[in-house]
Amino acid sequence: MTLKRMHPFKIMYSFMKTLKNSLFILIYLFVLNFNDDSTFIKFAKIAFLMFLVFRFIYLVIEWWNTKYGIKDRSIHFYQGLFKKKNRSIPLKQVQNIQFNSPFFYRMFHLTSLSLETSSTNEEATLKFEAINKKEAESIEHQLDPYKSNAYLSGEEYDFQEPIRSERGRESNRNVQFTPTRKDVLKASFLSFSFLALIPILVSTYHEFNNVIHLDDNLDGIWAFLTSSWLIIGTAVTLFVIIAITFGMIRTFLKYGKYEIASDPERIYIHSGLLNERSFSIRKEDVQAIQMTQTFLKRILGLAEVKLISAENINADSSEEISTLYPFLPIKRTYSLIQELLPDFQISQTTDHLPGSALFMRMLRIPWFWIISTVLLLWLIPQWWYLSLILLVITYLLRILHYRNTRYVMNKEFIQFELNGLNRTLFITNRQKIVEAEVEQTLLQKKFGLATIRTINRTKPIHHEEMKDVSVETSKIFLSWYQNRKYEIQTE
């Protein structure tokens, strides 16, 4: 086995990260107190520079000591200076693959590769911060046994000559979805929906101004802006234009070049114009599918489809990317799910909640309303009427949600759907549910109702529940779940 190191760019990457983390100190010492000659600042500057030098040396050594290689169908990772660490991860365990190539990485043909495993401990993710793109791809290539076996035949493989069967791969991989220009335009329209807030903000500002005179504190900027309608108009138009341009550019960069592809084993999502990202997930590892449509997306006929998989590392990045595409045309959504994940069959969600569920829901204590009313009466008592409006909205929403909540247990699938202002649809398979739960409060018992809950094997655990189904349904649910025993295969 030939051991390889990361690309030296890794040192730069980590060093930049250090600088970023100590940005505050940097600004404090070298910008705010640049001309300060006091001994303390002087020493602090020297100490900080020494720290940077040592950090750099450390990073170089760390880079030198970190090696990896693939042997016997596992990735071996050696790292550590004083404390040697040796990790090996069977390729089979890798579930999700993620490439991240920010713009400046792409100039050097680099990428950062994350391999997410199903392991439960902390080090579930193997991260190659900076490696050559070709190499990353060849690692990816070896992850799927049926692909790599074709040319590896079990022997060890080093990265000297990246064997690429590009053509063979292309024929396997089918592009299932790329957004049209119209889709992206719609998507960018959603990204500046916040503009609708402007009139509200302005009027709120006015209201507040009457109470606490913000103007005095803002040095009359506001007074100048509001001095004539012409200036107001210009300022607002300018702001709107800037916001729209910004929103559109951002959307195009992020979602403009987008590709969802699949082969029999995996789903591949590729995105980004400047900062490229790609993500692939094994189909078997998709635990559940969640489709959401916000109110605005409903109007535009768009939907977001999220694949819930075992491992959702650092919620910041992967959360977003395990989304198929946040702006899928609704017409395409169902067929796309069918094509990508034939294991999941979405059907009509037919079963309603029983009538007593409405009573139950009306009786629940409206905590949100109580807390906001207390806050409102405490802070701005002259707006007491808002509390009444909120109360009406709360109860109207309860009725709306009651009427539009549906579920169905169809063969091995369970489906929950809420079709209020927003729409969410959740579907999973009983084989992928690791625990089923029925909960009943005393009040629910009075009405003959219960809450059913499914728990999927993800990290963090994904709970999905349906409140106030009838007791009979909850019993059916439990026995439906127990019938998984006929489907699972055991060793």
Binding site: V434, E435, E437, Q440, L442, I455, R484, K485, T490, E491
Partner: protein, 173 residues
Amino acid sequence: MDSISEPENTISKDAIKVWRLSHIIEESIGLLIVIGLLTAGILFNWYQWVIIILWILAALTPLSAIWSILIRPIYLQKQWRFGVNEEFIQLKHGIFKQKHSIIPMTKVQFVEAEQGPLLRKYKLYTLNIGTMRSSHSIPALSKREAFALRSKIAQHAKIKEVTNDDIKTNASL
């Protein structure tokens, strides 16, 4: 569709005594802390509202003690049900909020019998069942029952589910 068998096994009656003992200890520690803080507050002139809150807490302690020492253990013991068959573990418990969970045997990763000093006094064990992502426990089982259950679950849990992905791998190798 099969009708499900409701879990029927109960936990030991001595659970009531164990819970009572442990709550007596807990409540007295709580009371001691509140009294300690209250004395300190009065001696060192803390804010009035802090002292008021401490008085309220002190007044609530007897009520919560009556509930948690006298009443709750009886109902909790009465409501606890569990059942174990070849495929599933079922747990059902709770007074105000009753929870009925079903855990497939194939998802069980470990099972252990545990005994603290209080449980030892009554020769009881708590059975902890760990799955991939969570942990459940059946409190207060007699030694015989706990050990029998432990080996039963361990036996059944040995069987592991095959995911499609494994089959494929094996076939391709």
